[in-house]
């Protein structure tokens, strides 16, 4: 890994990789660094690209880093990562993908992530997508995230795609068993001609299962965003979807939150709001000494925090 790779990695992990930490770094289709432990095993898949991660019950408050780098121009990489978390384990997974591409040929990363989360386990999954390079419209990151939450388990997902990814199709499917909790916070920012489609399908299967999905996005320039979510309450359950977007310039934003109740005890709500930055907000910050541009930058920074 060269210094440039380290800089790009830092953008998605917000910290440097410690050689002793549990990690798997994938670069241009190959694992370039791996470290696992007795409690957390990382094994390469035999039939396809990707890894299987096994987290034992005894794991408490540990972190696994699994970043992916694409620096070969025009590289097309599909990776299948399975996270198998045993009952009662508590773990944080820091993942993400960074693409550096300076040429006209498109680089594509497709990540298929499966989460099998055991009874009472607690998982926090932090994912950041980032693109950089001289040319627009050539960096694509697609994700399929499949989640199975066992009884009384919880998963918190913090997913961020803030800059440089030109096209993205994000599909998330989750099934929640009894008393399980899924919290999702999605932050998206698109500019120039970027396109993002984000689809969620969540099945509140078990009694007292709970999901809270919050998506905040900013669409600038000529970019477009399409957010589609479907929440199905198959049992006594609670679900809330909130989709909030700031639209600027000539961007387009579409939000389709769908809630389906199949049980009289299912409590499902959705909120969707799309709008420009309000003039009042800018004026307020101007009265505190910021220019219009500085005020907009602060509002956007806060909104995406």
């Amino acid at each position: 890994m060269n210094n440039e790779d380290k800089d790009i990695l830092f953008n998605i992990l917000n910290e440097e990789i410690d050689d002793n930490s549990v990690h798997n770094i994938r670069k241009n289709g190959k694992t370039i660094s791996r470290n696992d432990s007795d409690e957390i095993k990382i094994i390469s898949k035999k039939d396809k690209q990707g890894i299987e991660i096994f987290v034992k019950s005894s794991v408490k408050n540990q972190t696994i880093q699994v970043p992916v780098l694409l620096t070969t121009e025009g590289f097309n990489d599909t990776v299948y990562n399975d996270y198998n978390i045993e009952a009662n384990a508590e773990v944080t997974i820091v993942a993400g993908c960074a693409i550096h591409n300076d040429c006209e040929i498109t680089s594509i990363h497709s990540g298929v992530h499966k989460f099998n989360i055991g009874k009472n386990a607690k998982v926090r999954y932090i994912e950041k997508h980032y693109g950089c390079g001289q040319v627009d419209s050539n960096k694509v990151i697609n994700t399929d995230t499949i989640i199975n939450l066992s009884e009384s388990s919880s998963l918190t997902i913090e997913t961020v795609q803030i800059s440089g990814v030109d096209k993205s199709l994000r599909n998330t499917v989750a099934v929640l068993e009894m008393n399980s909790v899924l919290e999702i916070s999605e932050k998206l920012m698109t500019a120039s001609n970027d396109e993002v489609i984000s689809n969620y399908k969540i099945d509140l299967k078990g009694m007292n299962s709970k999901v809270n999905l919050i998506s905040r996005s900013i669409a600038k320039s000529n970019s477009s965003q399409n957010f589609v979510s479907e929440l199905v309450g198959n049992n006594k359950s609670f679900g809330h979807i909130e989709c909030d977007a700031i639209i600027m310039d000539n961007a387009k934003v579409s939000s389709t939150p769908k809630i389906v109740a199949k049980n009289v005890e299912a409590e499902l709500t959705h909120e969707a709001a799309i709008g420009k930055i309000s003039g009042e907000q800018i004026l307020k910050l101007e009265t505190l000494g910021l220019t219009k541009e500085e005020a907009e930058a602060e509002i956007i920074k806060g909104f995406m925090k």
């Binding site: 309000s278 004026l283 505190l288 000494g289 806060g302 909104f303």
Partner: protein, 237 residues
């Protein structure tokens, strides 16, 4: 010194403000009152630059700031609190205080500012300034930002509006403290008699014109006989 010279403001040929001439000295507490629609809010918005006058000049320490933009006036030391506080999704109380302090900020400063307006820092610094906060809480945060700015002149558009359970005494004490500290001049739109008592000067506006300008004793006779008296009574009840 803040001076308004021959300020006029018209909309569709209708006079909203007519020939306003005021001088507000540094560290002076000037209260503006008058019936609804008399032009009070327009006047303070003209001082802040939120509204451009049809004619006339605004001078700060002898410098003509009539064409200066809002942020330029803020940087020169004028700050303004809105009658209805603005909400932000994502920005926290800490963020706003930090901006108000021109980024010279640490949580000690934040705690002190919130303490002055009767809020517990531990509970509020990380809170988003959104509609989960009550009107009274938002108002106090606005006040904390204004105090954080420590401008030459602080403009308040009906600071008592929207304060529900908060003792009005606290708000009065904040103005007393600012006045005592001689750090800033205060220009406050209000109908509250308690504030009349601590103001150095009171301006009474009616139909866009100043009909009285002086201390409370000077305008007492007017207040007793005018619509303002009723308006004060209504607000103080």
């Amino acid at each position: 010194m803040l001076e308004l010279k021959d300020i006029c403001y018209k909309i569709d040929n209708k006079d909203i403000l007519k020939d306003i001439n005021i001088v507000i000295k540094s560290h002076e507490f000037v209260l503006i009152t008058g019936p609804n629609g008399s032009g009070k809010s327009t006047l303070v918005k003209i001082i802040m630059g939120l509204i451009k006058p049809t004619s006339g000049k605004v001078l700060l320490d002898g410098v003509d700031i009539t064409d200066k933009r809002v942020y330029e006036r803020a940087r020169l030391g004028i700050t303004f609190t809105f009658q209805t506080p603005v909400i932000f999704k994502g920005l926290t109380v800490r963020d706003l205080l930090c901006i108000s302090r021109d980024y010279y900020y640490d949580d000690y400063v934040g705690r002190e500012l919130l303490k002055k307006v009767g809020l517990c820092a531990q509970e509020y610094l990380d809170r988003e300034v959104n509609n989960s906060l009550s009107g009274g809480e938002l108002k106090r945060i606005e006040l904390a930002c204004a105090l954080g700015k420590q401008g030459k002149y602080m403009l308040f558009d009906e600071p008592e509006a929207g304060i529900d359970l908060w003792s009005f005494e606290d708000l009065t004490n904040i103005f007393k403290d600012v006045k005592k500290s001689k750090c800033s001049g205060l220009v406050v739109i209000s109908h509250q008699e308690k504030l009349f008592n601590i103001a150095d000067k009171i301006i009474v506006l009616e139909n866009g014109s100043i009909i009285e300008f002086g201390n409370k004793n000077k305008i007492n006779k007017y207040l007793k006989n005018s619509k303002c008296e009723k308006c004060m009574r209504d607000n103080n009840e």
